[in-house]
């Protein structure tokens, strides 16, 4: 009796794992900084299925940097353990002192995903402009792989179209697959079916993808490629999924 119960329970658990997309996440406490009182920004780093609000453990990232005018500053030592979606995550405080466009980038330690039989490395960035300055949001940072925004990645209304260029080793990736997910932070929305958890668009022949953002909130774009090099997992060489992830917030207009 107990055995059948256990077996059926196991079966249910195994079968009911929907096709969730993985997302590296870097979410700032404020998407733009206009006031000195709001200049202390907290950045939360995690690894999650953001629409379904299912977390995965994020071990200490290989690096966490802020880029300003092409100069990078390592912030890894400021990371403190946090909990996101009931799993280990990280948080860092950063005080913005002067006008500029601050690009925060996490390079995680490779994550072994047995279900997909590969490693996952999501280079994840988010962009916070401060005190009215907005030059520099379109600058590539020279990451292994990244999404270079073609739509200014802040100050966008919900419903806007978002465009980005997918780069891998500095080169555009024609036909790159881009997964798009909403950060269902307050559990506001439910996907009508499993297809709608993750939206998918492909880049065109020049590596540019386009997505119309349907409603307000934080949206993640993950351009996925398989690295040329393999990585060792318990003696066998395994594929490495390289993700270029960008998080940006779309906002509803205020009402008078």
């Amino acid at each position: 009796m107990l055995k059948t119960l256990l077996l059926s329970l196991t079966a249910i658990v195994c079968l009911s794992s929907p096709a969730l997309a993985h997302f590296g996440m870097v979410i700032p406490s404020s998407d733009v900084v206009m006031d000195k009182k709001a200049a202390a920004v907290t950045l939360t780093l995690s690894f999650s299925h953001p629409m379904e609000m299912v977390g995965m453990p994020l071990v200490a990232p290989a690096s966490f940097k802020v880029f300003l005018d092409g100069e990078a500053q390592e912030l890894k030592d400021t990371l403190k353990p946090a909990v996101v979606m009931e799993h280990p995550a990280w948080a860092a405080g950063y005080e913005i002192k002067k006008p500029g466009v601050y690009q925060f980038v996490m390079e995680p330690t490779p994550y072994w995903e047995p279900a997909e039989d590969c490693f996952i490395v999501h280079y994840t960035k988010t962009i916070v402009p401060a005190f009215g300055e907005e030059e520099g949001w379109d600058a590539p940072l020279g990451l292994k792989t990244e999404i270079v925004p073609l739509t200014r990645p802040f100050g966008n209304y919900a419903g806007n179209v978002f465009q980005g260029l997918v780069l891998l080793d500095g080169q555009p990736v024609p036909g790159a697959e881009v997964e798009v997910e909403f950060y269902n932070q307050d559990g506001t929305y439910a996907a009508p079916n499993d297809y709608m958890i993750t939206q998918v668009v492909k880049a065109d022949a020049s590596g540019v993808f386009t997505y119309g953002v349907p409603f307000a909130g934080w949206w993640g774009f993950a351009a996925l490629n398989t690295a040329d090099e393999k990585m060792d997992h318990e003696g066998t060489a395994k594929n490495v999924e390289l993700g270029a992830v960008l998080w940006t917030r779309f906002v509803d207009p205020g009402r008078k």
Binding site: D69, P99, G132, E133
Partner: protein, 205 residues
């Protein structure tokens, strides 16, 4: 043909980016000076923009000036602002329709050194920045720290900490009665009328 060219040239000149309609102002305290940065964007600074510095509470104009070619304007922290402990409202006028303002909190400049004075020593600036915890330890290790030095340090720290409270008190003083006070006042009036009516209506014995 020529007129077409002229029109084209004119169109090019006129079509500066839309961003140009928003002007940014940002100010911070450096040493004993307030530095004001004015720009349309990083590469486009506000040249010769008109700056007016006002007392953030009373609105009194303290000084005026013009930005340089880099969009910068520096001025020493006004003595009046130091003594009153109210913040500075800095207004920028950069031509037609281009204006913006920035508030410098008093907490940012109270405790900043007076420009004429020599640069503060390390423990002093520590304390002024609010990290009082290390101040005592540092002080005991610094030779030649006189009693008046310590007093100065403590006074500066207290000024910095109390500035927001001072300002709040002042702002409260300047504000008229709030809705609560007015409603409360009306309540009192009705109440007193009621009491009077009661006594008046009571049959005299």
């Amino acid at each position: 043909m020529r007129s077409v060219l002229m029109i084209l040239v004119f169109a090019l000149l006129v079509s500066s980016p839309a961003l140009a309609h928003r002007v940014n102002i940002f100010a911070y305290v450096e040493g004993g000076e307030v530095v004001v940065e004015c720009s349309f964007s990083k590469s486009k600074r506000v040249r010769h923009g008109h700056i007016e510095v006002r007392d953030a509470v009373s609105g009194e104009t303290l000084l005026q000036g013009t930005t340089d070619a880099e969009g910068l304007f520096r001025f020493p922290v006004p003595e009046q602002a130091r003594t009153s402990g109210s913040g500075l409202r800095i207004l920028l006028q950069a031509g037609e329709g281009h204006q913006n303002e920035w508030i410098v909190d008093a907490a940012e400049f109270l405790g900043a050194p007076i420009t004429a004075a020599p640069a503060p020593s390390a423990p002093q600036s520590d304390t002024a920045a609010g990290s009082v915890s290390g101040g005592n330890v540092a002080a005991s290790h610094v030779p030649g720290l006189t009693r008046s030095d310590v007093e100065e340090v403590v006074a500066a720290a207290l000024d910095a900490k109390l500035a927001p409270i001072q300002r709040e008190l002042r702002e409260q003083g300047l504000k008229g009665p709030g809705v609560q006070e007015i409603v409360g006042g009306i309540g009192w009036i009705f109440g007193l009328i009621g009491v009077a009516a009661y006594f008046k209506s009571r049959p005299r014995v």
